[in-house]
Symmetry: C2
Subunit: 216 residues, 2 copies
DNA sequence: GTCTATACTCTGATAGAC
DNA sequence: GTCTATCAGAGTATAGAC
């Protein structure tokens, strides 16, 4: 979701061989940015190249000069996204203070909802569709990481360092509560009025919630 | 989301005049059920009449004998959904015990996630798309109800009957936590294994969470 | 690198036989 | 009421001029 760690290299673009010129790099990024906007709003099938081209300010054939296909654009976005999607949970430190670690994880996820709401919605769209394109990621990478961190949380509860909670539901609750502010931002804005940022007051509320939940 | 309170009457179907025959009623319901499956998975634009027809076991022209258009089917589904979407929150009783009322609201929403996951995903898809088709519902009906209940919760906190919490974020948290089990069920199944029901253990966890959050 | 023109497929919707 | 056949438009993708 942040800028790709490396220049994304040869993921699935068109010319692919050799290093790309500055204008190539720039246009690819413009297209990916426009595509993120459209895919995250309408889902893969609901999005059209026309919309993406209009959003990018380029012609439709020009899009397909930089990417092999609609699918290739979408695949690039997902690859970038998944590349960093696990980082916040991965940072949960077995050596840290349990309650502080979980609170910090919640805050990292909340920051992602604030800074990368479109990426969150892109992910939500994939899951709503049954996750056909990211099934192996979820069943392998994500699942193993969650199992590992759930085990860690269980050890913390057994040591009496946090209140006894179901570790899986604890993790799911952090996902639900933080991603909600990105995925359902349209609803929150309509309810609270457009002048409010949807995330106003979210951090104190979630801090209060998890402090009370986790205190032994 | 449950069966429409009245037979849905003349919402937008085709023959519309007079009472519908038994087979009409039945086929309309088969189509709506199939359409719910497809729209809730792919969103409005991502869904096709071919998919809906296949799911319903009817031919595509036959679909359009019962409904004027793809849009009409979708509109009927949304109308049915919104008709009951507010009920759980509306039932929050000013005369009841504050903590018990909020816990009961959470449980009603969790039951809806369990019993009507496709309706929840249909709603989620609409919000992800920016809520173009249900904007007036959210800005008016939903907003006013939320304002009213937030006011009630504020009174409860000021009376010291529950812990001081931001009432809007409290309501959002119930939405996020309960709907997550419907909207992200695919992800939860992949992480916990298909043999678990995604909602296993959710109720005790949420009860624990809100008990701790709300106790004065 | 970017555009216009176009091929071809998919999709929503209609006509008309049965 | 249900089907086959079909149309018009939108959608992805390619060809080829500039």
């Amino acid at each position: 979701m942040p800028a790709p760690k490396k220049p994304a290299a040869e993921s699935s673009g068109t010319p692919a061989r050799g290093s790309r010129s500055r204008i190539q790099q720039r246009n690819r990024q413009i297209i990916l940015d426009a595509a993120l906007e459209v895919f995250s709003t309408h889902g893969f099938r609901g999005a059209t190249l026309d919309q993406i081209a209009a959003q990018a300010g380029l012609s439709k054939p020009n899009l397909l000069y930089y990417f092999d296909s609609k699918d290739a654009i979408h695949r690039d976005l997902l690859t970038q996204l998944l590349d960093t999607w696990l980082d916040p949970l991965r940072m949960l430190d077995p050596e840290g203070d349990p309650q502080a670690e979980i609170m910090a994880y919640m805050r990292r996820k909340l920051e992602m909802a604030r800074d990368f709401p479109r990426e969150s919605r892109l992910f939500a769209n994939e899951i709503l569709q049954g996750a056909p394109r990211i099934e192996s990621f979820i069943c392998n990478d994500l699942r193993h990481l969650v199992d590992e961190k759930a085990q860690l949380i269980t050890e913390w509860t057994q040591a009496g360092r946090i209140a006894p909670v179901d570790p899986y539901h604890l993790i799911f609750s952090i996902w639900a509560l933080t991603q909600h502010y990105a995925d359902f931002a349209a609803q929150i804005r309509m309810i609270r009025g457009a002048q409010h940022d949807p995330l106003d007051g979210a951090e104190p509320f979630l801090a209060q919630l998890y402090t009370r939940l986790l205190s032994p």
